[in-house]
Subunit: 273 residues, 2 copies
């Protein structure tokens, strides 16, 4: 039996999503037991409980040798408030686990990567069960967590290459912080959602000025979804904008990637494939 | 006669605003001649003309000894695309001038500060003439540019202290870039507009992690205007959020400041008052 612990380090999580995930797992992944930490259902303003409760739940489950994986319940916002503190409190049992999430959970993936954790992946989270086509996202995440099913992986990952994947806004806003991982030589996959295109352009000025980012082997662009209206029209799409900044910074642009804030979001394991 | 050159390094500028500024200046500041560079009225997608045109206009007017001041026409977005290139092309005549602007023009104020320019100020721009009460903003900017009227200054600036003022989002997204100024020992005034409170909280995690920002003498908070709806409610206002991050980073919080994206926005000269 594989035991997967779910904690919610960011925004409020939905009990309905937990129900959907539990039902799908029972039907299709009998080898997995999914345990939602009670913290997942706390609320404190914007967050799934106060900072201390979110940090404590993560530390408790990560340090418990009875769990094989930590699955972040959802993104939204809030992981940066607890990541440094929680990661400092992780012991040896925490290093033997898989960690899966994306979006705001990128703060934790980044900090864990920097701390030398080796089994991290960018991919669907329990809250994605609520999306249109969400069962496919849940199934893909569980297929990766339980069976390391290669069909769950993003199709363009290359054997022998190092990868990392992040939400563009989150990655930019963790540069220079104690959570920034060393991405030298990595192929970086980025995606974003619900931003104005001018804000994406602005984020890329900042990102591509970083020496760490300039040391990438290359960038692949996932989906930039739900782009907010730009008045006047920005006149360039996400790919044009990313190509512009990569070229200006001397970073190879390696094409598109099959990740994003949607149910088609594929799994990207960090580090060497 | 004082000659003030206006260029538009960011978003499209309004000819109507130029007309209002010219009329007010003619009536109340006969000692000033305001020259709008033709580039101010170009459009290219989101911007007041292509990158090259915006950079060239700034370089041309800044390097022209016939002008005493450069007044940035408006913010929006776009200055980061041209700032490094333009500043590298500035000669000795550019160093003798006053530069006034805020918001997206903060990229230029930052880069000029880093390049050792000594007469920089955060304050109203020509486009502010279109705001409700905009005449007061125009009058305040011109009173500063032409007469160094102390009534134009932000009321809490202390003699003998070093100051800088920025839009919070802009400052965060220029950290780590070639535009980042050394703010050690400065009192930093920040303001923001049209952001969700979670995004302000997130920006402050990033900002207050910076060693440069941790070297500030303190932070004063201007207005956080037009806060976008947060679902669920963030539960904390801008002052609470700024106090939280300042405390966590050991940066003195020195109270509120009279700056913001509004017609009451006061002038903050950079450096020693």
């Amino acid at each position: 039996m594989m035991r997967i612990g779910v904690v919610a380090p960011s925004s409020r999580f939905s009990a309905e999503a937990a129900g959907k995930v539990t039902a799908l797992a029972a039907a299709e992944f009998p080898e997995a037991e999914i345990v939602f930490h009670p913290q997942c259902f706390l609320t404190h303003n914007h967050f799934a409980g106060p900072d201390a409760a979110r940090a404590d739940a993560l530390v408790e489950m990560a340090n418990d040798p009875a769990f094989d994986a930590i699955w972040f319940a959802r993104g939204g916002y809030g992981a940066c408030r607890i990541a440094e503190d929680a990661i400092q409190r992780l012991g040896p049992a925490a290093r033997d686990k898989t960690y899966l999430g994306y979006s705001d959970a990128g703060y934790l993936l980044a900090g864990l990567c920097r701390a030398g954790f080796s089994d991290l992946a960018h991919g669907p989270m329990p809250q994605d069960a609520m999306r249109e086509g969400g069962d496919a996202a849940t199934r893909r995440a569980l297929a990766w967590l339980t069976r390391r099913d290669p069909a769950a992986l993003e199709g363009g990952l290359a054997k022998g290459a190092r990868h990392a994947a992040f939400n563009l806004t989150v990655l930019g806003l963790l540069l220079g912080t104690p959570l920034e991982p060393d991405l030298a030589g990595h192929v970086l996959l980025i995606e974003d959602v619900s931003e104005h295109m001018y804000a994406t352009d602005r984020a890329l000025y900042h990102l591509t000025a970083s020496a760490n980012i300039r040391g990438l082997a290359g960038v692949r662009l996932g989906r930039i979804g739900d782009v907010l209206p730009n008045d006047p029209d920005f006149g360039e799409d996400g790919e044009t904008v990313v190509r512009f900044w990569c070229k200006r910074a001397g970073i190879p642009f390696l094409g598109l990637a099959d990740i994003g804030h949607d149910s088609a979001n594929k799994v990207v394991p960090f580090g060497l494939l």
